[in-house]
Symmetry: C2
Subunit: 208 residues, 2 copies
Amino acid sequence: MTATPTRRTQADRRAGTITALLDATVTCLAERGYAATSTAAVCAEAGVSQGALFRHFPTRQALLVATAEHVATRNVAAFRETVGADVDTVDDVAEVLTHLRRVVLSPANQTWRELLVAARADAELRTALLPARESLQAQMLAVAADLWGARLPAGDLAPVLSVVVNMLDGLAFSVLDPDPAAAPGRTVERALRLLAEMIVSHYPQEQS
Amino acid sequence: MTATPTRRTQADRRAGTITALLDATVTCLAERGYAATSTAAVCAEAGVSQGALFRHFPTRQALLVATAEHVATRNVAAFRETVGADVDTVDDVAEVLTHLRRVVLSPANQTWRELLVAARADAELRTALLPARESLQAQMLAVAADLWGARLPAGDLAPVLSVVVNMLDGLAFSVLDPDPAAAPGRTVERALRLLAEMIVSHYPQEQS
DNA sequence: ACACATAGATAGCGAGCACTCGCTTTCTAT
DNA sequence: ATAGAAAGCGAGTGCTCGCTATCTATGTGT
């Protein structure tokens, strides 16, 4: 039970509290929303003082922007994992969509949406978020090219991605249940299946 | 230039300021967002005092819920107007989708989305909004039945509606430009066209 | 060992918030 | 005409917020 007198370098301490703050911000945004993600709430969640927060981030907005960039890489990685699956049959595509839905409902994506909504009413935040936004979109497109690039014309890649992710995002917004990871519901399940059928039949597989 | 000494009944005055407040709330929500829609801001927009607001609405939340019900009827009406169009060819469906997109980007719908997002983090608001939410969804489904009921199986009505409106809602959330009514953009235009093609080919027209 | 720089904690400030209260103005019933 | 009710007003109240000033603790170069 001896309290380990961990000898940490300054850089370690710095990095430790910074990631603690970023993770705490993700948690707060996901379960309380943008408005209730006050600096005090984040500090309580991270287990540090407000003084510590404002040492590393000049303003609340800077913390939020840093958090956006923090989760953006995670989001791309999670999206990339769906690439592994085959996309030959309707069942394949449907399963990819179901997997994508779970990814879109994850806290990291919820964080991203929360910040985007707040940015609509906050011009400063909007411009501060723009680079991360464009970077994320480009990376998503690159991943989509890996997934579907061989199956559909290059010009249709972005539009199809737009249909799919916007539909899933819209779905995420209209989900207000306390547990967003709950069962998809009959209508949603059927809607995803329908979308899969439409995509597959619209882009018939080339005989390999 | 004589100031008309309008003789108004009490009920007239009451109704007048109430609708002024509701319309002002719609405006504030649409152009400033939920957080910045303070009672002071709404009163300034409506041209009444805070005392007047709190005479008619016990809390800010009551005002917001009343506003939600206020716009819900408008939203259904705007949605219903799209029913008039034919949906025979791909061009017809594409035009309906384009029209729907404009409707979804309107201030009334923006108001509704703003409240839904706020409700995710506010359990009280969520339950207060639930009846209006269910009513709106039922009415939308009824209108959709008028539009597409003859073209697709009854069980597919709700899922198709889900795909379409969730995609448009997701699109609305990702639009951060100062002028949301601006040109749709190449990708969006193509995405809507694609969706129209998919729907029409998936539900081929019966020979009349 | 010691001076210094960096990290973290705490108390507090001014602004803005939802909401209240005492008051005046405007309509209504008798 | 007049009493009473309803509508409207705006200064004030307590509270929370982002942020700062000040202090202590801890690691770092010499």
